[in-house]
Amino acid sequence: MNTFRVLKTAVTDVAATTTQPGATTAARTGVLNLSKGFTVQTPNFLAPTSRGVVPHISPDNFERNTGVEGVFVALEDFIEKAPQRIPPLYTYPSTLRSFISLPSSAFLLLSARRSPNITCPKANSDANLSILTSVGFRDLPIKDYVSAVIRLEPDIVLGIADIANTVSPGKNRVQKMVNRTVKWLDELLGSVYAGGSSSGGGDNNSTDEKDTVKKLPAVFAPILPLEKERQRFYLSHLVENVEKLSGLVFTTNESVDVVPEELAGLPKLQSDVVGGPHQVLEMVERGVDLFNVGFVGTMTDAGIALHFSFSADEVMDNGGKDKLDLATDMWDVKFATDLSPLEEGCDCYTCKTHHKAYIRHCLEAKEMTAWVLLQIHNLKVVERFFGGVRRSIEEGWWEKGRSGFEVKYTREMPVGTGLGPRLRGYQYKSVGGEGKLNEPAYRSLDSGDEDGL
C-alpha cells in the first residue's frame, strides 16, 4: 500500500495566531511509504531527468555521489518513434527503472510530460495528449499512457491534466478541461486498480491478490491551474475517489490553495519548481510536501554553483544590505587559481576532491566534467536544504528559519555568463523557424578536441 502520514505540523508563532487567526502555517513533515518499499521523509525533492537520466549524472555517480531519493521521468522522452514504430521501451522485458539503470535507492515517478514542458501547438483531443519528443510534436494516446504505467511499474504515476494552451481559457474550454481530466484520471485509476489486467498481462491471474494490491503505483491526481470555482466539479470527483489517490500534483503555486479539506491528508507535489529555494519555502509554508526541482539543472548548465542552507542561525536584518547570494557563477576569471572548494564545509564528492580552479578550467575548456561536478554539488546543496527544512519543522524552528532565510539571502538566482552544454531539444523554447540550437563545435584552429557534447 502507498500511504502518507503527516508527522508534525509546524508550530505557528503564538503572537501571530492570536492576532490573525487565519494565518496559521501549513508547513508539515510527513512520511510517504510507497508500495515497493520506499520511505520518503517530506518535505523532500525529486530530481528531474532527461531521457531517464539526471542530467550529467551517470548511474554510478548517482549512486555513489548523490543523495537523490526520487526522480521525475517523462514518458515523452521515450516514445519518439510511436506510433509508426513501437518504442523500444514498450518491448523491453523489464521495468522502466531497469531500462534507465536507476539505482535501487531512488523511487521513480512517471509523468506523461516533462515539467516544466514545452507547450505544443496542437491542442489535446479527447483521446490524445499533445507531447514533444526529441523528433517533434506527437500525440500520446491516453490509453497508451495508461497501459505503459502498468508495464513500466513506476513507484508514483501522475494523472494527466488537460491544460489549455491559453492562460485564461473560456468557459467551454474549462468545461472540456474538467471533463477530460476526470475521464483520463478514471481510465488511469481503472487500469491501476484492475491490477493491470487490461494491459494484456493475462498470466497474472494466479498472483496473490493481496500481493498485487500491495505493489500498485501511487497515483497522484493533477490539480488544474484554475480557480477553485471553475474546477469544483473536478475537485468533488477527486474527493469521491480519495481512497484511490495517493497524492496531488500541480504546476502553479496558486493551485495548492484550491485543495479541498477532504484531500488535505494527501501528499502534494509541486512539479514545476523553477524559482529556487525561496519558492520552495513559500510552498512548504502552504503545505506542499514534494518538489521537482527544475532550477538545479538550470543552474548547473549555466556553470553556477549553489550555496545556501536552511538553518536556525540568528540572522541580523540590516534592511536588505549585505544579503548573501544563493549561488555563484563559476565562469568568473577570479576563480582561475582558487584552490578552495565550491562551498566550504560541503561534504559532496566535488567539494571533498576538487577546487574552484578546476571547475572553472573545465567550464572554460568546455569539458563535460564541469557540469558533472557542479551537478553533484548542487544536488547536495538541495538535499541539505530539504534536510534543514524537515528538521526545522520537527524541532519547532520553521518560522524562524524561514524568516532568517528571507533576510539572509537575495531572492534572485545569478544569471549565467558562460556557454552551457549543448542544448537539448526540450530546452528549445520556441516552436520551429529558428536557427541552429548550437554553434558548430569545431573551430578552424583546433578542430580536434574541444567539442563538448
Binding site: S50, R51, G52, V53, V54, P55, H56, I57, S58, P59, D60, N61, R64, N65, F78, K81, P88, T91, Y92, P93, S98, F99, I100, S101, S134, A336, T337, L339, Y349, T353, H354, H355, A357, Y358, H361, C362, E364, A365, E367, M368, T369, A370, W371, V372, L373, P421, R424, G425, S444, L445, D446, S447, G448, D449, E450, D451, L453
Partner: protein, 406 residues
Amino acid sequence: MAQQKAALSFDLIAKCSVSRARASTMTLPHGPVELPMFMPVATQASLKGLTPEQLESLGCRLCLNNTYHLGLKPGQATLDAVGGAHRLQSWNHNILTDSGGFQMVSLLKLAKITEEGVRFLSPHDGSPMLLTPEHSMSLQNSIGSDIMMQLDDVIATTSPDKERIVEAMHRSVRWLDRCIEAHKYPEKQNLFCIIQGGLDLELRRECVKEMVKRDTPGIAIGGLSGGEEKAKYCAVVRTCTEMLPDMKPRYVMGVGYPEDLVVSVALGADMFDCVWPTRTARFGNAVTSRGTLNLRHASYAADFSPVDEDCDCPCCRSKENGGLGVTKAYIHHLTGKETAGAHILTMHNVYYLLDLMRNARQAIIADAYPSFVKEFFGKIYKYDTAEYPIWAVDALKTVGIDLTEA
C-alpha cells in the same frame, strides 16, 4: 654520454617464449603501473566527462594530458599557481604529457618548423609564437607530469620528401639534447626520447642508436599515427624494438585500436595512447571484444543486451553482480542527446582497453600470449581466418605467432 637521472624503476617480470611480448612493472613518482598498458587521453585535464574518481575506478593509473592544450587553458601561469596538473585535476596517479609539438603541427595548419622550434600563430589572437624544446620542457615542468616527452620534429610518415624525413630525424636528436639540457627536474619527472625516421628502417635504426646513447628513462617510437600502411607500421615497430634495451619501457605513440595494441605487444611494445576510444564514445561507438559497434544504429534501439557480454566494466556488469546493467538500447537512447550517455560509453571503452592490456599481461606472465592473440582475433572474426587482416597475420608471423594455425 652522461648517465641520465631517472624518476622511475623498471622491472621486467616476464617475456613471452615465442614472441617479443613483455610483462613489466614500471614504478613512477605517483605509483607503479603494470605494462603492457593503454593510457587514456585526458586532453585538457579531464576525460570526456569522467571524474578522476571514475577513471581511477576503472583501474587507470596513468593518463595523458596534452601540453599544447594545457598551455593554452589554463595556461602556464595558472598551472604554476595551482601547483601543476595533478593538483589541478585532483589526480593522485601518474600523468604523461606530450611535447605539444605534434598537436601544433596537426591542429595548426600554419605551423612552420625551423631549427629553433615550431613557429605558429596563437589561436587566441593570431600573433606569431614559437615553441622551442626549452619552452616545451618548461611547460611540462610546470605541468609536473611523471613522464614528459621531448619536442620532436614530426612529419607525416606518408610524406614523400625523403630529405625532409632525414632532416626531421636528425633534428629530433638535436632537440632531445636541448630538452635534456633544459629539463629542470630530472629527479622527479622522466623525460622520454622519441624515435623518428619515417618508414625508412635504416633511418629508424640510426635514430635508435643516437637516442639510446642519450640514456633517457624510457623510449618512445613516434610518428606512427598518421595513416601509414599497417604492414609498414609493424616493420618500424619491430625494427626499433629489436635494437632497444630490454630494461627500458617502450611507448608507441598515438596507437589505440585493439588489434594494433595486441600485435604491437607481440612486437615488443609496452605502452600505448590514443584519443580514439574516448572520442568515439561520444558518437555512440562501443569498442568490444567482437569489434566496434555503432550503437546509434537503429538495430540497437531495442537490443537489451550489455554493450559487451564479456566485459566486466561497471556499465556492462549486471545489477545482480553489482554493476549498472546498462543495455545497448539505453546507450542508443542517450547517445548524442545526454552527456551521461557519453560518460557511460567512455567508461566502457576505457575499461575495455585497460582490461585488454591487463589480460595480455596475465597471458604473457603465464607464457600463453600466442593463444591469447589467437583467441582475441578469433572472437572478432568469428574464427574465420580468411577474414583476419593480412597485415596482422604477417606481422605476428615474424615473431613466431601463426594466427592461421589451429
